[in-house]
Amino acid sequence: MQLGRVVGRIWASVKNPGLEAQRLLLVQPVTPDLSASGKVVICTDCTGAGSGEVVYWVRGREASFPFQPGEVPTDATVVGIVDELHVGGGGA
């Protein structure tokens, strides 16, 4: 998975049936220090993430798993909203 920040959304009335009623978020991949890294990606969402929130998202075929048994044609899905993020620091 990768970290990201929700930076917007898109909407489409004409789309593949499998995408009906799916939120389509624009997610900017970020590094653990929350700086942008890479291209903005369109993600489906199963968490209700709002704009500006730090999330993590999954890529590839697994992106459709949260919507099973439905067949949602997506290759990127937000699967979690980050509450806290710790990098480095003491301990193992």
């Binding site: 930076v7 009335s13 499998g18 389509l24 903005v40 044609p73």
Partner: protein, 91 residues
Amino acid sequence: MTLGRVVGTIVATRKDARLEGHTLLIVKPVTPDGKEEAGYLIAVDTVGAGNRELVFTVGGSSARMASGCKDKPVDCVIVGIVDGVSMDAAR
């Protein structure tokens, strides 16, 4: 999924039989604020996208989950025509 603009079409008479009857479009990836990105995609169209329309594509093996593409040799499918893009001001 990737945002893109339809910039052309492909006609192929000699192709895998399972691609019969599918429209093949050339898509140029673009950023949410409309700037063109590198590269081009050949995508199967499942929504009737027209030339210059803003669309979004799904790639990889998830592309075969788009309706009509179940057992087809495709890894890029246009799954929606974009009506609007809204970006947060704070970006």
